[in-house]
């Protein structure tokens, strides 16, 4: 009877939601499925876009990471998916959708085991084992391109970029853009390949193929004062002075106050202030600078002063642009003009201000230490360019990765199927429950080709059967068969049709998908604290940042 007398122990705050046990795992798996379903239709060359409205802003995207991010997922388990998509995006930049799908599919395959009472840890162990084997095989299958000649390597990189662009809005102009991207990446320092040094600038208007690459830096004309138009707009081999300094007539210190006792002193104070600014300007001119760029404002006085002396200037240049100019021209950003040394000036082959669409752009071309490039994107609508920018970003990341890793595999689901075939084969040699689990892993991998086929409106069952048959022959022959969205048969050798991807993308996708699946499987209890008071008070007012309903937007 003693158990009835046990007092209730209140361990958690009132309102705390706890759920545990097998039901919890299953529920988490279902949540993950729901999220993965949203991005499912974006996979592959016939993948569709999503339009997501958050507040007044509308985003149209095909990029898995972008979509998941904008969905504002709050379910704790489903958030894991968002995180792996983001990590894939940060790490390799592409393949975010396939990672998400793979993780969800692995969980889906694990669900029956959990329901039947197999301990989650066994499933996890099985998955880890399968992953290990899969990665080993992936390395084995991948094709090394490091020994290729420069031209053929470039060709390979272009092919990889094309594969990345296949599913995007730019698919029809992929030839054009892949070459653009590869040329941009080739400009970078091959040892570091800093992504930040490729700038992408958007200018609405014009056709998408009017986009162009500047081997140097380009940025939009900054805010200018009267007198700017009188400055020269074109230089060859100019001396470029980079500053982080305000060139304006203003008080030196914010809170200083001057007491003037005698009227005669008045003029001297005024003169002193003018002398300060003139001194700065004079030093710059004397040092021989022809272009002056500053992160901080360059006032009207300085603008006119420079105009008088045939010097071009631009104030309020964005930090990243200034940084790129610095890299490209070999100059150094100065925070003071005292002791300004002409050695800190950069130079470039040609500086020009040109009209791009409705905007004017400053172009720095043919830079001597050109380790930077800028892509100027054109296109009809704002959203179009933004999506184009995201797509190019993916392509740049892929090319960068490929440049470094030098290993590629064939896409279109071919590599997944080949690993799947191998794992199925291997599973037969395993005793115990692991056999099932490795088999499920193999089955989960098939989600990639299956979804590509489904999205293209093909009969996925028929295609999967054809593909399995091709791969089952083993050896080199059927290894690279994947989904073909154009041909009549629906399958083709994707290696020959140049659907190539860097091995690294696949490797990372496999790893992070498995890790995420394992993480979700190992959670058997969620303790969710009630929302803090502050949060519930905020709630009826709607989300911060969104204007109340009925207001004009």
């Amino acid at each position: 009877m003693s158990q009835f007398l046990q007092p209730t122990i209140l361990l958690l705050r009132e309102g705390t939601d706890t759920s545990q046990g097998r039901a919890q795992i299953v529920s988490n798996i279902n949540a993950v499925q729901a999220v993965a379903d949203v991005v499912k239709s974006t996979l592959g060359p016939r993948g569709m876009d999503k339009m997501i409205q958050t507040g007044p802003k509308v985003t149209i995207s095909n990029d898995g990471a972008t979509i998941l991010n904008l969905l504002e997922v709050v379910h704790p388990a489903a958030r894991v998916l968002v995180d792996i998509a983001k990590s894939q995006d940060d790490e390799v930049g592409d393949g975010t959708t396939s990672t998400t799908l793979l993780a969800a599919e692995l969980l889906k395959e694990a669900k029956p085991f959990i329901e039947e009472g197999i301990h989650p840890q066994i499933v996890i162990q099985g998955y880890r084992k399968a992953l290990e084997l899969a990665l080993e095989k992936l390395e084995g299958f991948s094709i090394n391109i490091s020994k290729d000649s420069k031209e053929s390597k470039r060709d390979t990189l272009i092919k990889c970029a094309q594969t990345a662009l296949n599913s995007k809005l730019l698919a029809n102009t992929k030839q054009f853009f892949s070459e653009l991207v590869v040329s941009a990446v080739e400009k970078l320092d091959p040892n570091i390949l800093d992504r930040d040094l490729i700038g992408i600038k958007n200018v609405t208007g014009g056709n998408i193929t009017d986009s162009f690459l500047v081997d140097g830096v380009a940025f939009k004309k900054t805010f200018s004062y009267a007198g700017f138009e009188q400055q020269p707009k074109r230089f060859e081999n100019p001396k470029i002075c980079l500053l982080n300094l305000e060139l304006e007539l203003k008080s030196e210190k914010e809170n200083a106050e001057i007491r003037i006792e005698k009227p005669e002193e008045y003029q001297s104070i005024v003169d002193a202030e003018w002398a300060l600014i003139y001194e700065k300007l004079e030093i710059i001119v004397k040092a021989g600078a022809q272009i002056v760029l500053s992160k901080l404002p360059i006032g009207d006085l300085a603008t006119q002063y420079f105009a008088d002396r045939n010097i071009f200037c631009a104030g309020r240049v964005a930090q990243e642009d200034l940084l790129r100019v610095q890299k490209a021209t070999g100059g150094q950003v100065q925070t003071t003009v005292n002791g300004l040394n002409p050695e800190t000036f950069g130079t470039c082959g040609l500086f020009e201000e040109v009209q791009v669409g409705a905007e004017r752009y400053n172009l720095f071309k043919n830079c001597p230490q050109s380790r930077t490039a800028t892509i100027v994107l054109r296109g009809g609508a704002e959203q179009f360019i933004q999506e184009a920018e995201r797509s190019l970003n993916d392509a740049i990341m892929i090319v960068r990765r490929c440049f470094k890793a030098n290993k590629i595999v064939a896409g279109g689901g071919a590599i997944e199927l080949e690993i799947s075939r191998f794992l199925r084969h291997y599973a037969r040699s395993v005793t115990g429950k692991t056999q099932y689990i490795v088999n499920s892993f193999a089955k989960a991998l098939e989600v990639i080709p299956r979804t590509i086929a489904e999205n293209a409106g093909l009969n996925s069952i028929e295609i999967m059967n054809k593909l399995r048959q091709k791969h089952a022959q083993g050896g080199e022959e059927g290894r690279w068969y994947g989904v073909d969205i154009n041909g009549a048969s629906g399958v083709c050798d994707t290696h020959q049709s140049f659907v190539w991807e860097p091995t690294l993308v696949k490797r990372n996708a496999l790893c992070s998908a498995t890790e995420a699946a394992c993480a979700i499987l190992s959670i058997d209890e969620t303790v969710k604290n009630p929302k803090s008071d502050q949060d519930t008070k905020m709630k009826p007012k709607g989300q911060p940042g969104r204007p109340p309903m009925g207001m004009r937007r």
């Binding site: 339009m51 504002e72 489903a78 809170n255 106050e257 008045y266 959203q383």
Partner: protein
């Protein structure tokens, strides 16, 4: 979005504010997007062509504007629907790049979407449709380049340019005066154009509006017009052989930028201070006068004392000239902008043939005209008209015309208007369609149908029977192998657009077709819309 339940009957909350979000998927999403976009296109449809109608738009503040410029209409409609917004941007990007044809591009996009809708109903995959459109677009563009003709812009006193400007102005409210306005626009552009580099900086053409008078009174000033008058009513109203001093400092005692206090402890100091201030004014005027300047334009204000002194010294002056005007004047007169009185030198002065104050009508408003500038690069078009609305619309129309001329200077190839170019492309695309063996064939054919929508819309707006006139034009194009047959909107008795002299630039037509296809492709690629459920 509806709630999902797991196997144990517990509801999920996966997304934040899930209940307040709306989600549309698949066919439902395509259709809703297409219908929204089509609604915009339908609004603009009646504004197309020379007999197109105007729209009256009332802003939230009650301002009324009447226009038939596509970009302006959609901008002022304040559209909220996300897909429809894409069309707004489409129109604006045509405006930014070409400046003309903003209505046409939206109407074409609408026609394409209409065709896409029927294809979707047939069960064709949206991406197949967009592929087909893309291929058709390439064919159409190639054909456009083939039928385009190069014109000599110099010949016959720039007759071709004037005709092209007239075409652009033909659909506007000012069409009655299109010849005169066209000439003004052409002269203005040629004045500032750099013909060797084929570049026109539109910033150098200033368009100034003034209500009153009629559209006929619109004129071109080969110089600059500023909406200011002399700082003192008694100053002389006209200066010939002006030497202009451009100042960016006020006619006031200089002030240090640092916060300052003057402590006056006795009457002697006070007097001294007063005298010093007086001395400043005298010095300033003297400095200006000594440099040889006979007029001063200042970006800032004058002290009353200074104003008086200027008058006494017979030095006309203008105050509060805006920064952009200062820059324009500097460019046109070769002046240097002077930031400090101490720096005035004779070399820094700008020169102009005459500066005079002109008065309009019976109103008291006056403006300054600066003419015969030393290095005349800037010109001004002064637009007059009965009401603010007409003046505004005339300004937009002239802007369109200027853009057309600029584009012709950049690229002197033209196609003929009146729907003839679209018809010719449609025929070519139709022919190509039969060569396509896959599903895209249907999409290609629909593209041709959509292109035909433009002439049919033109005919409709002119009160002609759209089907008969398009059919006639089409058969004549085919039988006579003449791609210049279009719709006779003006009822001139000929359908040959070469005889009617309806010129449009190739770049504008090309851009229209390309941009419309691009946006349609984008709309067709969206299969999922997630939005807050509150509009």
């Amino acid at each position: 979005m509806s709630l999902a339940f797991d196997d144990y009957g517990r509801p999920y909350i996966i997304l934040r504010d899930q209940g307040q979000k709306k989600r549309m998927k698949g066919l439902e999403a395509y259709k809703s997007n297409i219908l929204a976009a089509k609604a915009i296109a339908n609004t603009l449809q009646s504004s197309l062509g020379p007999k197109g109608m105007d729209k009256m738009l009332v802003s939230p503040d009650g301002d009324v504007s009447v226009t038939n410029d596509g970009a302006t209409i959609v901008e002022k409609m304040e559209i909220q629907h996300p897909t429809a917004k894409l069309l707004v941007e489409l129109s604006q990007s045509q405006d930014a790049e070409i400046g003309d044809g903003t209505t046409g591009v939206v109407v074409l996009a609408g026609k394409l979407l209409e065709q896409a809708l029927t294809l979707l109903d047939k069960g064709i995959h949206p991406l197949k449709i967009s592929d087909g459109f893309d291929r058709a677009c390439d064919v159409a563009i190639k054909h456009l380049e083939q039928i385009a003709e190069e014109i000599d812009i110099q010949a016959n006193d720039h007759e071709a340019l004037i005709q092209a400007a007239c075409t652009a102005l033909g659909s506007k409210v000012v069409s009655k005066r299109k010849r005169e306005l066209g000439k003004i626009a052409v002269t203005a552009v040629l004045d500032v154009a750099d013909l060797t580099r084929k570049d026109v900086n539109l910033d150098l053409i200033k368009i100034q509006t003034k209500t009153g008078g009629s559209v006929e009174d619109t004129r071109l000033i080969s110089g600059i017009l500023i909406d200011k008058d002399m700082s003192h009513p008694q100053m002389q109203k006209e200066v010939t052989d002006a030497k202009i001093c451009l100042l960016t400092c006020p006619f006031e005692p200089p002030k240090p930028k640092t916060k300052h206090n003057i402590n006056i402890s006795n009457a002697e100091d006070y007097n001294k201070l007063y005298q010093q201030e007086q001395q400043y004014f005298i010095d300033m005027v003297k400095l200006v006068k000594n440099s040889g300047a006979n007029i001063a334009l200042c970006q800032w204000g004058f002290d009353d004392e200074a104003n008086h002194l200027l008058l006494q010294n017979n030095l006309p002056a203008v105050r509060w000239v805006s920064g952009t005007d200062v820059e324009l004047i500097a460019m046109a007169t070769g002046a240097r902008i002077i930031p400090r009185f101490q720096e005035i030198t004779p070399e820094k002065l700008g020169k102009a043939g005459s500066i005079k104050e002109v008065q309009f009508g019976t109103s008291n408003e006056r403006m300054l005209v600066i003419e015969n500038c030393q290095c005349t690069k800037a010109v001004t078009i002064l637009i007059r008209g009965g009401s603010q609305m007409i003046v505004d619309e005339a300004k937009r129309s002239i802007h369109d015309a200027i853009c057309v001329i600029r584009n012709l200077i950049k690229d002197n190839r033209i196609v003929y208007g009146g729907g003839s170019a679209e018809l010719a492309c449609a025929l070519q695309v139709l022919q190509y369609a039969d060569e396509v063996s896959s599903v895209e064939q249907y999409a290609v054919r629909s593209f041709a149908d959509a292109l035909e929508g433009i002439p049919s819309c033109l005919a409709d707006n002119c009160g002609l029977n759209p089907i008969t006139s398009v059919a006639q034009a089409k058969s004549r194009q085919l039988s006579e192998k003449n791609p210049r047959i279009g719709i006779d909107c003006m009822d001139l008795g000929t359908t040959d657009m070469k005889e009617q002299r309806i010129y449009e630039t190739l770049s504008s037509k090309k851009q229209q077709i390309q941009l419309a296809t691009q946006v349609v492709k984008m709309i067709l690629k969206i299969d999922d819309v997630i939005a807050p459920d509150d509009y």
